[in-house]
Amino acid sequence: MNPTGMGPSARRMMLVAFAAGALLHVDRAPLWSIFVAVAALCWQLAHLRWRLPLPGAVVRTLLALGLLLLTMISFRTISGLAAGSTLLLVMGSAKLLEVRAPRDARVVAMVALALLLAACLERQSLLRVPLYLFAGWVALSALTALGSQADIRPRRALAASGRALLIGAPLAALCFVLVPRLPGAMWGLPPSEDATTGLGDEMSPGSISELSISEDVAFRVRFQGPAPPPSQRYWRGPVLHDFDGFTWRRRLGPGAVRQPTEPVSPPLRYQVMLEPTGRSYLFGVDTISQITGRRNFQTFDGQAIASREITSPIVYEGVSYLEVRHTKPLSVTGRRLDTQPLGNRNPRTQALARQMRAASLDNRDYMQRALRYFQDGGFEYTLTPPRLERDSIDDLLFNTRLGFCGHFASAYVTLMRAAGIPSRVVTGYLGGTWNPVGGYYVVRQSDAHAWAEVWLEDAGWTRVDPTAVVAPERLRRGVNELLDSGTSLTGRLFVQAEWLRRMRDTWDAAANFWQERIVNYNLGAQLSLLEKLGLGKLDYRALAVLLIGVAVLWGLWVMRAAARSPRAAQDALEKTWGRFAAILGRRGVGVAAHDGPRAVALRAMQAWPDLASQIREFSDAYVALRFGPAAASPPQREQLRELHRQLSALARATASTHRPRTG
């Protein structure tokens, strides 16, 4: 035994556990903290391998203080998840440098578990789950190895803790389902730390020369009842009102009153599972009438907004109408907002607008004429448009004639405003692909879209999508299917390979199930699941009784499982031999407690010479199982049964033969 009471395997397990815990934070923690962790690990390894001395107490104290300071400087706080996990990481590293006794090593294993928890709180994607499982398993195995005085080999520690985890899994699952969830947070949620993705507050099509098409999922949608066709699935996002000739922006200042509407078509109900964006936008199809969720609201221009930034996936339900009637004329503020003068920017476009308006009968006719302009003007849809000049619309209309949705929507609204017609740019997503495995539509970042809304006195806000006339296929299919070039390789691969798409659908369905049913399993989900299970009428007390009852049953089961442990099999082996010795004793062959099996067998063979071969066979089998190479693993059930059979035969044989001579 090692003088410190900790075997080298236990020490190694602890190192692996800490490394696994650190690995979970590699992509988020600051680089210096990763460096600290790796350095500490290397130092311990060198200590283990080449007896490199560990740092003294003074150095360690200074190091710990320094690391604390560094964390505070780098995060300007030590509260919050990111700072907290970094602090855990570096303090764990510092602790690693003073591991001498098992006690220190156990602290490190605990830090590894805490790192796992921090990682779980930060990110919950299905992809990371195997990593989490591994980290947890290794940390518990390290605890197991450290809990025993014997130097347990890593494989045995892994097997023991893995077994306990498997035995514990049913109870954990049960608790997960039944333990009552809270309706809301008990204390404040941490401020958002995530980078933003997806649609933003502004749009400057002219500044983009290559639109990166991300295959990331923006959200998933389940429709109640039939879904509208793809060309009608306009997912409404940020509405942009302010234009400086180059960039469109959301209205951040005072807006206008909301124009009241009346539904004309039947309502469309759906459930949206939104991926985190770091922004507060919610998406709904076409004209959103309701969005569930406390404190979610709609802006005057019909955009749904959450009360806070969406940093973790959320689920909400929406009701929309594909056709509505505006019941009141446009408010003065609304008209002012969406007919903002263009000033001296894009003069050629303004001239074109005036000329086209003069040739039109009314606003509706002008709207159609402008749309035809995009249809017949030789415009082309591309995701790699050239950069545009400062007067971006002039450059687009009279020079490049290449662009994507943002370009055309921007140009169209400019044409409308130049003629004094209230209009705005709406950004969002278009379409979405059906996932047959999960039974929902997936809307990806590559489905991002922009279109125009024009106020017509007789019809109210009317959607106009100039991209639809430039590239009509865009409405029916996704971007990837539309273009041969300029789109990502993976995107094209998915279009071409059916099996690959199928695989992606399956994975996406699994990830969605994980997100929806496990990670976001909240009070509502719990109540509806209990309802489905027929337990809907149970109150908390009944639930507690149920939980405890099942837990007790589980405990009894575990006790039985513990009785079936390897040691129990060894016990059974011992017992079999004990019965043999007892039989010999009853038949008058004295067996002393200190007699080895060989001596006992010899004495029995002397007593019953005619049974000698049977006795030898039995004792040899026992010795092989008990002391031979097979003794390393517990005896198999069949082997024990065979031994029992031999014993019973011997018991009968010795009973039938005459009493042996004694002495």
Binding site: L117, Y132, T144, G147, F176, L189, V558
Partner: protein
């Protein structure tokens, strides 16, 4: 031992009654509490639970429940690892006062002996050694107690415990076994072995025995200075004592009353010294103690008998 522990011990002993060997441990006498690591683990699980509840984070909650279930499995396994353990034999060897009483417990368990801890108030566990015992569940656990006082030594309440397999819980049982042994007096005293009967003068005896000089042996406390091989010592050898063959057959008399009137313990120590020496030199002696029968003899059995008489001298009989 804390007051709480004492009260709990008293309660437990009342509950389980006296033990007799061989003893198979029943679950009802096995107690369990978390270890320091176990408490930390519990705190971590509670922290995770609160965080998971607060953030409505299913993954964190799942992890929490799983870790808690793991700890529960560990608790049951730890408790079960002691249940069914058989204590076959417990035995303590006699010792001299000032030395150590070694208590040996022979047991058979599902656990490796290394993971079992046998302890008692004031005792020190003798580490399990030997290559064969590495993972063995059957064998001896030893405890050594300081042998303070001459007389009958009774084993205190023993505690057999383990925290295997995960170190999160420690389970234990109290054993109140009727195990006792004798503590002999400390062998001490500078007086030489009493003269052989018939020898009148030391010098003559010495001269006479010189012929029978058989061997030299290392000096032991209490040896007569006259028997020391001073010449050899002067030449740089360690203190050696001449041994004489003739003495083996002769009968020496160790008489309590013949000793000068020191206090009883000093006299007993001197007698003990003589018996140990005489036995080591394979001599014959009789021990005379007030109020006990006189038997002449030699050898380990006689030695044991005489030492036992010294150990129990004065206990329950007239001095």
């Amino acid at each position: 031992m804390s007051l709480f522990r004492q009260r709990m011990l008293r309660w437990a002993l009342r509950r389980q009654g006296p033990d007799s060997l061989p003893l198979q441990l029943k679950p009802r006498r096995i107690y369990i509490l978390p270890t320091g690591t176990g408490w930390t683990f519990g705190l971590l699980v509670i922290a995770m639970f609160l965080a998971g509840m607060n953030y409505g984070n299913g993954l964190a909650l799942l992890l929490t429940f799983w870790l808690a279930a793991f700890a529960l499995v560990g608790m049951i396994q730890t408790q079960r690892s002691l249940a069914g353990l058989t204590l076959q034999h417990v035995h303590a060897e006699p010792a001299f006062a000032g030395g150590e009483v070694v208590l040996r417990a022979q047991l058979h368990s599902r656990l490796s002996l290394r993971d079992l801890t046998l302890d008692a108030e004031g005792a020190r566990q003798v580490p399990v050694t030997g290559a064969g015992s590495h993972d063995e569940g059957s064998g001896d656990l030893s405890l050594s107690f300081p042998a303070r006082q001459r007389g009958r030594w009774r084993a205190p309440v023993l505690r057999l415990s383990t925290s295997a397999p995960y170190g999160l819980f420690r389970t234990w049982t109290w054993l109140s076994l009727d195990v006792s042994t004798l503590v002999y007096p400390t062998p001490a005293g500078m007086r030489p072995l009493p003269e052989l009967p018939g020898a009148e003068e030391g010098s003559r005896r010495l001269a006479g025995s010189l012929d029978e000089l058989a061997a030299l042996r290392p000096f032991r406390e209490g040896d007569s200075p006259r028997q020391v091989a001073w010449k050899a010592y002067a030449r740089g050898a360690p203190l050696l004592v001449r041994e004489y063959q003739g003495h083996a057959a002769a009968l020496r008399e160790f008489d309590f009353d013949a000793l000068p009137h020191d206090d009883t313990e000093t006299r007993l120590s001197q007698l003990c010294r003589w018996i140990v020496d005489a036995a080591a030199e394979n001599q014959r002696w009789t021990l005379r103690l007030p109020g006990s029968a006189v038997v002449a003899g030699a050898g380990p059995e006689h030695r044991r008998h005489c030492l036992s008489q010294l150990a129990t001298f004065g206990a329950g009989s007239v001095t």
